[in-house]
Symmetry: C2
Subunit: 605 residues, 2 copies
């Protein structure tokens, strides 16, 4: 039997018995999911175009709307095709595009990374001057005569010099890493990779001119094994094959990014000489193929934390044979090299004053620097801010409500300006903040009684959106005549409360350790996509952030990716990353007696 | 059709049309040869046991004796079998055994090479101490926390620590290069390889205890492409396949030596962590697979001269995956890393006074140190001293006359105390020296007239051995009733004259450069097998060496092999080797106007 995945058109031959999610994993098609195929998250929807002749499961009836089922939607984890089938995978490209735009780096930099590429003519030896070819090459390039070179390149020399004797020599510090015929002096590239759990962002740089050639973001194909790191750790730890499989997924993804760069910008893969990586601790382990099982259970000890470097070819990355990879140092089990990179790019270790850096995802990573020290913690926010665990939550893709204002009526802003199909993280924060500001939700996080709404003179147009359903109290953000209304549930508000409390308690713990209050904070740096799209007022309203002056809060964009680029372009930044990761003290909230107190205190609005 | 090579029993299936020499090359059987299959040297004799039904060639009739032809001998380069055949390859093992014995090194040394192998127990992490596994390993082993490790080893950690948590860690300086379960602290080995054109000698050392575990010498299997370097360069330069083929021959040989060590001494291949190489410039190039064609023509410029290091696995050497190789630096096109190693092991760069080092083979390499400088040259002695180009010459194998005394009669000493079948290098020098001392040959190198012999009262028993044949004047060293007598021809004496003149002229040139006379020389060091077996008196008689006191002349044994061991065992010796190769000034005799003068002057006895 054959399955075809639209819109990419990927085809795969299969035998019956497997779910579409599993087949997608085998075929290399990316389908989002959140619960590793357990049929509980309802996120792995696909539209069956033809071949839909199996019974709809109980889980699907529960998790899909009637409209969706009528339109042919199924859950990829439950639908096991028994003959030829064509499925359409909803596009998440918008999220990707949005991430790409986050990269705010200057177009051209004066870089210092030890790369030199020189075009030289090598004179023939004479009986008076019997210098070896390699000595002449080093001398003409001004390289240390004892500089190293691998045997594979020495082998190329006789043929290269038997013709025109004009060659291009690529050196990294004093090591010769490439020799080519003719003039290829401008062809020297490097890749910086930010391996997110959801999205992998690559930057292609010219290591000689310092130009940013291109940015490319793709969905992390490990997503087929679960949206969150815990699902992936569980999968990876099931067998050696699984570990290898999930490791190869990210390697294939990196090779894909490199190939796409190569085609788009006419850059030969063998002209890419270095690659730097950042990612959370689990992503860092999986990148190297190291079993991350310890990261899922206390005491969350990583297998390694220091930076790891080696030949990119050892990881199966197909760029120049002598290309090196550099994986930035990790800080702790839940504070990965992406945070090290963020610290590097925001410069908060150097700045005067006291700085708080926040990176919100399923985990919220918090870094506090100042008064001669740097401390960090990670707090389990849960997936609320990523749209998961919220009834109508979705990723920041087309159709997601991203901004909400409640005044006389509810005004929404939808990604792609289309009919809303859900609500993403920034929208959820807005919704809760607006419900609080309008008085519909009290400080405990509860919808007030309808009588109280009337008492408070809340407009009828707003009150009418409040209703009770079998799901409990809910508020309609957008009506939908064709399908289900987009609502926010009482339960959703509780989820937001738990998430923001976790993060705020983490911030408090660090501030207590340093002995500071809100007033002492000079800057809050919000890293990642989250920082770019949330409304700062809303974040302050729900109590996610310490109450400080709004203009002391900065959105840092893709600070992890920028940090990876800095390590690629400036050799001394790699050393700074080592020092940073060693200097930052990790506070384990699980061993922190005051955490529960702070958590409960942070719960209310 | 099948061919079987005795005594090893190697079998190979073939199609007709190829010579036995070619089939041996393909099958991996070593057959000596000197002219790369041109049918001119007559050295590639094999005995056909069955299947000999092709016509004997003109070359074979010329080069084989009637007795040999009757006994079934053929030249491997000319015999093209047309059906199943069994051939016996004469054993050269004696030469190999003799070379093995040359190694005079202490059994146990206190070595300094940066290797540490430690058995440690790694405590489990706790919520209070979340240190990564790798950090704990480094700490327990006292290694720098930033010390490097490859991803493949990090991958092994989770499984190794999931069981007994007791591991053995191997470190080279601060780099972790191996992690194993249990206690393997004594298993840490290194190989030193001396790659001779004829013989490859390997030494296996324990890098922790400093014990010499074993020595193994085998015939260089590249010999099937010719005995001398020029034949091998010619072969290698014919095509890319040939170059790869001859390169793979030496790699297979090295793997064979390692495997044999592994079996004999119960040493696992993955416990061999380092390998050092020395060899002449051609052997060094072929080891790395670098085309050596430039070494065959003026100006003899090598492709590389500095030391080359890398992963042994890159060369296809199957020892530990992280094992490094180190190829010692070369001095010039005809002064290889074997000479660098010899200088290292004889210590002539450090000693007081003036030292002359001599390594005699097809080329004679000469090094002169003292008065703050070090100079070297290589002189084309030709193969006379190796038994080739001499009518009855042969290698130092069973049946070779190795010592000769001419008094009342001729007394000979034969390797293996058997019937003599030829004469090896030391025997040839003895023969010529004894002919001069007895007055049979005059200072010009000519046999004196029979009348003059009688005048000089030379005993009749000696005079009777002098005779004329179709080959010219000759002197019988040993009569042979079953086959041909072992004789020394007038032409042979001429060959010795040319060879010793080349070497002596080279010595003179260096001495002139330094401005010294024979009296200034404090020591002469004779390297290699040649030095161990030649009679110093005979060498002085024929004028191969400057006339100095006999006890100032030292035989250094396998000084190249010893130098390779030193580089393996003492890290600072690698640095000394670099400095040595840079400090020694190469004098190219081809560009030396006074060489011809010296050469002609050195010709007479």
């Amino acid at each position: 039997m054959k399955i075809r995945f639209l819109p990419k058109g990927l085809e795969y031959t299969f035998e019956t018995g497997k779910s579409v999610l599993k087949l997608a994993a085998e075929a290399g098609a990316a389908i989002d999911g959140n619960c590793a195929g357990n049929g509980t998250c309802g996120k792995c929807k696909v539209k069956v175009i033809s071949g839909n002749d199996e019974k709809i499961s109980r889980e699907e009836k529960l998790l899909l709307s009637v409209g969706e089922i009528r339109a042919g939607y199924r859950l990829a984890c439950k639908f096991r095709p028994i003959n030829d089938v064509i499925v359409e995978v909803p596009l998440e490209e918008d999220a990707v595009k949005r991430k790409t735009k986050l990269m705010a780096m200057p177009d051209s930099l004066i870089i210092q990374n030890g790369y030199k590429k020189q075009f030289v003519r090598i004179e023939e030896s004479t009986i008076q001057n019997q210098a070896s070819d390699l000595e002449k090459i080093k001398k003409n390039c001004g390289l240390d005569e004892r500089g190293t070179i691998c045997s594979e390149l020495i082998k190329k020399i006789p043929d290269l010099l038997s013709e025109k004797r004009e060659i291009t020599v690529t050196a990294r510090q004093n090591e010769i890493i490439d020799i080519e015929a003719g003039d290829a002096t401008t062809e020297c590239y490097g890749l910086a990779l930010d391996i997110g759990t959801t999205t992998v962002v690559g930057h292609l740089w010219n290591l000689i001119t310092g130009e940013l050639i291109g940015v490319n973001a793709v969905t992390n194909p490990q997503g087929v094994f679960g949206a969150d790191v815990i699902s992936r750790i569980t999968y990876a730890n099931e067998s050696k094959e699984n570990l290898e499989n999930i490791h190869q997924k990210i390697i294939a993804c990196i090779n894909g990014i490199a190939s796409e760069f190569s085609e788009t910008y006419h850059v030969k893969l063998e002209h890419i000489y270095e690659i730097t990586f950042v990612g959370n601790t689990t992503m860092s382990h999986l990148l190297l193929g190291v079993n991350p099982r310890q990261l899922a259970v206390a005491p969350f000890a990583p297998v390694f934390v220091k930076s790891v470097a080696g030949l990119a070819s050892e990881l199966g990355i197909r760029i120049n044979k002598n290309a090196k990879y550099y994986l930035m140092p990790i800080i702790a089990g839940h504070v990965g090299s992406d945070i090290t990179a963020g610290i590097l790019s925001t410069g908060i270790m150097h700045g005067d004053g006291i700085h708080l850096m926040l990176d919100v995802g399923t985990n919220g990573e918090i870094v506090l620097t100042g008064r001669g020290s740097a401390i960090t913690c990670s707090t389990a926010a849960g997936p609320a801010f990523e749209g998961a665990s919220i009834f109508k939550g979705m990723r920041a893709a087309e159709g997601a409500i991203e901004k909400i204002k409640i005044e006389d009526d509810v005004r929404i802003q939808v990604i792609g300006s289309t009919v809303p199909t859900g609500i993403c993280g920034s929208g959820i924060i807005d919704a809760v903040a607006q419900l609080i500001n309008s008085g519909l939700v009290d400080w405990t996080g509860k919808f007030i009684k309808p009588e109280a709404m009337i008492e408070k003179n809340i407009p009828e147009s707003i009150i009418s959106r409040f209703r009770k359903s079998e799901r409990g109290n809910e508020f309609v953000l957008a009506y939908n005549s064709d399908g289900e209304d987009i609502v926010i549930l009482q339960k959703d508000i509780r989820e937001v409360q738990l998430a923001k409390a976790a993060i705020y308690a983490g911030i408090r713990i660090l501030m207590n350790r340093m002995g500071i209050t809100d007033d002492d904070l000079d800057k809050i740096h919000i890293a990642g996509a989250f920082g770019n799209y949330i409304d700062i007022d809303s974040a302050l309203t729900i109590g996610l952030l310490p109450k400080i002056d709004k203009d002391k809060i900065i959105s840092e964009g893709n600070s992890a990716g920028i940090g990876a680029c800095m390590a690629l372009l400036f050799s001394d930044k790699q050393k700074e990353a080592e020092r940073t990761a060693e200097a930052v003290i990790h506070v384990e909230l699980a061993s922190c007696t005051e955490f529960q107190d702070e958590y409960v205190k942070s719960m209310s609005f």
